[in-house]
Symmetry: C2
Subunit: 506 residues, 2 copies
């Protein structure tokens, strides 16, 4: 097939041709200069291979980043921006910044980048004909979906559904919307059980809810969450979030939503389970939401046995267990979903298989590495009436198409297995490295963290390492968290280790 149009005839032709050439050069490792590049970079897009190592020649953020932040701050929040990245020169595990630095990225857009930068599979899919109609307009999926949507949910999004969670509700774009809709589903079901499954809301309920009043509004019901947990920043999800005061202060919250203690040590688990059992039996609790690893709160882990007990307690009290996998999901812990670890330690193989089904949460939320957001749920959590869990867009087909590429790539390249291998390697090396100040080195897969003595020491370490070309992140009060992409390899782990060792004396 040859091009039959002279380029002058069609602007679109030229643009597509540039694309094609760039994309082909990615596949064939020939480097052609990119025309009409949208940034100041003059090298070819997309890059064709990863750098061997980081390369920094300014502090990070550098002068260009600082100038852009100043410009941005005139019109929008920019104080949180760490540096401006250059998507045209980033590739694989390396992020380029606008000052010409190239950094090994072990934080990946706050744990939200599954395949690294400019992955060939994503570029190929993005340029395929199948994506174009979904770029042309955004449908209101709950009102009128395209036929591809049904296949996309059935064969891709649900192909990685947690065991027993056979349905999915896509939401509009962030983890908080996934969490809030899952919480709504839990309240709606709890009330349906209370009034008997076939009963409609009463006239009084329908009238009172219009004034935010009981009995229509379920104000005396609540959702429980754990101290140090993070579930989002909108009003419902923020009421369940317990990680940092700066997220919560000055915003109205549901005062009767209880916070449960999360075990600091394995010894503390029994006490925490007793509290959970008491709170969940005493109050009108519709849901308990928990991260399999409390991530923003400082990578707090509990044993599989703790979570098994929690599942048992929630089942006994008819409380929906919502597992919030926005940060932990999609492979990073060496399982596709982190809650799959909950069956570990069940000795008999057959018992473990049974346990996995028994242990399944009632709902599992996702966003971040999935690119699309939503939640899987057991069919009994579908409300009896339509239009109760709904929004205009009810999802995003483009982000769901990206999710399908991610799922395909994770499967084809066995990335979950790779994460487990690299994670084990990195965790052991960190534990053996015995650097000054590092403590509580912990993790699952490459979802690894360690503590520093103080917040200041932690922040200094992150800045020092970044100025030498490696990006890592903070969480909790004094924790460093590693959140590399799923394509992070042992060779990348070696560079990370090297820079940590350089920054910290033995």
């Amino acid at each position: 097939m040859q091009c039959v149009h002279a380029p002058i005839r069609c602007f679109i032709h030229r643009a597509a041709f540039r694309w094609r050439r760039a994309a082909c050069s990615a596949a064939h490792t020939s480097r052609a200069p990119s025309a009409a590049s949208p940034s100041s970079s003059s090298s070819a897009y997309p890059p064709v291979q990863e750098p061997e190592r980081p390369a920094v020649h300014t502090l990070v953020p550098g002068p260009r980043s600082l100038e852009l932040a100043r410009e941005l701050q005139e019109v929008s929040e920019a104080r949180t921006v760490q540096f401006f990245h250059d998507p045209l020169r980033s590739y694989g595990n390396y992020v380029a910044d606008v000052d010409g630095n190239v950094l090994l990225d072990a934080f990946c857009f706050i744990a939200s980048l599954p395949l690294g930068y400019n992955h060939p599979n994503m570029l190929r899919a993005a340029q395929s004909e199948a994506w174009l109609p979904h770029l042309a307009q955004r449908p209101a999926l709950g009102y009128s979906a395209p036929p591809e949507w049904v296949q996309l949910l059935r064969t891709k999004i649900l192909s990685v559904a947690p065991q027993g969670l056979d349905m999915v509700q896509m939401t509009c774009g962030c983890g908080a919307s996934a969490v809030e809709n899952a919480l709504k589903a839990a309240f709606i079901r709890k009330r349906a059980i209370e009034r008997g499954n076939d009963a409609e809301p009463t006239v009084e309920e329908l009238a009172s809810c219009m004034h935010n009043a009981e009995p229509g509004s379920a104000n005396s019901m609540c959702a429980a969450s754990f101290e140090h947990g993070f579930h989002g920043r909108l009003f419902g999800s923020l009421s369940a979030t317990r990680s940092k005061p700066i997220h919560k202060v000055d915003v109205p919250a549901f005062a009767n939503w209880p916070a449960l203690p999360f075990p600091v040590t394995e010894k503390d688990e029994e006490r925490c389970l007793e509290v959970a059992d008491r709170v969940l039996s005493d109050r009108r609790v519709a849901a308990l939401i928990v991260e399999p690893i409390l991530s923003e709160g400082g990578d707090l882990h509990a044993s599989p046995a703790f979570f098994r007990q929690l599942r048992e307690i929630t089942r006994r009290h008819q409380v929906a267990l919502i597992c919030d996998e926005v940060q932990t999901g999609v492979g990073a812990t060496g399982r596709f979903w982190a809650h799959e670890h909950w069956s570990e330690g069940v000795s008999d193989r057959a018992a473990a298989v049974d346990a996995a089904a028994e242990l399944a949460p009632d709902m599992v939320t996702f966003a971040k590495k999935m690119q699309a957001s939503g939640f899987y749920f057991k069919p009994e959590y579908l409300p009896r009436q339509a239009y109760r869990i709904f929004s205009t867009w009810s999802g995003d087909p483009l982000r769901a198409l990206q999710a399908s590429v991610i799922i395909d790539t994770v499967c084809a390249d066995r990335l979950v297995e790779r994460v487990e291998d690299v994670g084990t390697y990195l965790l052991q090396a960190l534990q053996q490295s015995r650097r000054a100040g590092m403590s509580k080195i912990r993790g699952r897969g490459t979802f690894i963290a360690f503590d520093m003595p103080t917040a200041a020491a932690r922040d200094k370490l992150i800045a020092d390492v970044r100025n030498r070309g490696v990006v890592i992140g903070a969480s909790g009060e004094r924790t460093v968290r590693l959140r590399p992409a799923l394509v992070f390899e042992r060779k990348h782990a070696d560079i990370l280790l090297e820079e940590l060792q350089y920054a910290l004396p033995e």
Copy 2:
């Protein structure tokens, strides 16, 4: 420039070539068959011109739509889906469905489609090199933005900012997230004023908010909204929503958030303003949120003078006025923002200009027709501390790129002026048509509605008209709402009128 790769060498090449051809055929009105079409359709994509008229040969939804809905319902909510559309065969104001019907669309994905289907400008932009890196990965914009983001906000998103609202916060994907973040900004500012602008939250506030308790959580403060208003379905936005019980029942709400009466007639406005004045002076109200036309609630209008008084009352009581333009914004009312109508009737020209600045709300939310979501705000609503209005993605560059194409097209094609012309034409024709059952024919631009005697009569009309090839929508209890795209012309209005007249006797 000629293609130099044989297609066999590169899958990407082939995909891009198909795209290029399809896009060129759109520009040159030659029809070439599309290879490897993602749907069952066999015609060329994208279509090159609008049909002359609707063409239906099944009921809508037809058998294929019903079959797809059945399949979808096995794995996700499908009871709300009206029909499955075929994006490959939809064009301009006409939506094709999967049963081979072609319908004139005057509802446009619940008022969220600004340029109709497969607009050439959007297709051209989507295939440009500039979009590709943003398709390759989704950045966490609040953490590390690409340099294009600064320009996109400054030169595009802010080019249509309401007067005096010089800053913008993008949110993650739906109107509800825009509303909830605007509400948070209002609470944060109100508390900052209360404690004195330079004071940090106290230790007690920081500690108590972790338990969702006062004084840290602003639980005795509230956001006021109007009866029949709609602002979203997440926990905070749903507390402000007062349109239908089915949205609200069984979900916990903030019980102390007051609902204000919205005037049914112009005579009722004074009473409603008195209530607003009393409530806003009596309670600790941080924000009043209002749609310029209460849309989901049944297209309820009030006079410009009413809104001017509301602005005056909110200013007097130091209450943030949030204008929710998720449905009304981006041209549909014959102004870019519907609240621009508020200065109408101010007699003197110079006074009207002053009034426009004086009347500006403190924040204006957007989503739907903008494709991207967020809110404009006056600089004093930027929180003093960072990380208070924040989320991982903090926006969506792809949807913001779409917004920039929409803004450019609206300006270049003078679509707001066109909407005003077509809307005036359609409204007058409807008012003159005197059809049985139609009452209260009202509107601004093409944002037009009328009532039917009962909900059943309304629903029957919508179904009848759709089965003859025209899509219109419902709102309120017995209202029909028209929400065509901004490219809707008089000739389309004529077809809509014809079908309404066919369905209803004189």
